[in-house]
Amino acid sequence: MTPFLLAVALALGPAPGDTVVDVRRGDRLVVENFSGSLVVRGWDQDRLEVRGEPGDRAEVALTRSGSELTLRPSSRRGRGREVDAVVRVPRWMELQIGGREVEVSVSQVEGGVSVRNVEGDIDVSASRGPVRIRSVDGEVRVTDVEGRVEARSQGDDVTLIRVVGDVDVESGSGDLLLQDVDAASLRAETLDGDVRFDGPIRRSGRYEISVHDGDAMVAIPRDAGLAMEVATFDGEFMSEFPIMLQRYRGGRSFSFTLGDGSASMKIQVFDGEIQLRARR
């Protein structure tokens, strides 16, 4: 199908630059090469609205190809310029957002979100997953999300608050904060930073936390049933739970069981402190 140009120009003030198009269930939105700030909000209409912030002089183009709508800087004037845009989308719409230096805020969507950037904070909230975020140097925040969350920032923190779903988070040199995260499968790994996990433990859940240089602080329910495996090269382990070491696995690795041991947790810290606490 020949792509057709839906709209160009967010060049004017509040109203005249707005663009509204009708969309059909199954359509997805791809934002490419975006630079600046992008706010995406879900709404209960089968329409997509793109609004430029007052004062913007850059232009973006919205094109359709099959079921894919693409928003990108227009080739004439938009490239390399910063745009601040607010996009309203139907809640069901799947989003794929990418840009080099872009701050992204997404909320109230349910069709799945994927965001990728080099710099700029990424924030996804009040949505249903899957959520997939990859940033080279931006801070990542995911709050009030149901569904699988995969988030990675090489250079900054990743924060997940009130997430229900499987979690896979990674940072190169940032902290990972997982507060009230309810996951049956969780993996958190940072090289240079702390990991803090505070959440329920699911029966038969699998939890893996790995830190190179930093602390791991884990708060779990008092009645959690967990087969724990702990390993460190140069660090100490503190537990608020009375524990019985079952196996000393050589080096500085050992395992023990809490409750019925139905779930498993592995905490590895190369250089740092491991703290196991009871949730409050």
Binding site: E139, D215, G235, E273
Partner: protein, 191 residues
């Protein structure tokens, strides 16, 4: 590794802030989960922590950083073993945290043009300092990041160049030249 206690012995001794016996009790209470005891610790120490954050990281970041310092302190109360003043321990923690956030703060500042006058905000504090000190407070904010941080650590907080170089990941020579730069810039602001 972020365990401040590991570095304690290498730090210069800090000021004793507050009455020791009362503090020891409040620290113990706080470590046992007593929020009110922790609030008392907060009230006793917030001025010093906020001042440090303000001078090191600037007006915009200071409030967030101060809150983060106290939250981190709460989480790390278990590593405070009572072999130093609580104030000293807290101060180390604050310096470490603020320095570790430099990168993030810089990025944030670059993205937001300062919208509020620094001087305006500085006049608001309840505990007012003398006129000259106020001028210096505002003048410090105008220094370039590196010079400002070295100046605050060396001249205000009393750290040595080696310690600063170590903490900031710069050479001793750079620390010295940043200090010189800061002082030369600041002297113009004094009457």
């Amino acid at each position: 590794m972020t365990d401040e206690t590991d570095h304690m012995s290498r730090f210069p001794p800090g000021d004793a802030v507050g009455a020791v016996p009362i503090e020891a009790t409040d620290v113990q209470r706080a470590a046992g989960g007593d929020h009110q005891a922790f609030e008392r610790l907060y009230r006793d120490h917030v001025g010093r922590v906020f001042a440090l954050a303000l001078r090191m990281a600037g007006d915009r970041a200071a409030e967030d950083l101060t809150q983060e310092v106290f939250i981190r302190a709460w989480e790390k109360l278990g590593t405070f073993r009572g072999d130093a003043q609580f104030g000293t321990w807290l101060h180390r923690l604050a310096v470490n945290l603020i320095l570790s956030r430099r990168e993030t703060m810089r990025k944030r500042d670059a993205r937001h043009v300062a919208s509020e006058g620094v001087v305006e905000r500085l006049r608001a504090p309840t505990r007012r300092s003398s006129g000259a000190a106020l001028d210096l407070e505002a003048a410090v904010q105008t220094l370039p990041d590196g010079a400002r941080q070295v100046f605050v650590l060396y001249d205000v907080e009393g750290y040595g160049h080696e310690e600063i170089a170590n903490r900031m990941g710069i050479s001793v020579g750079t620390s010295k030249s940043q200090l010189h730069r800061a002082r030369m810039l600041l002297r113009r602001h004094l009457d």
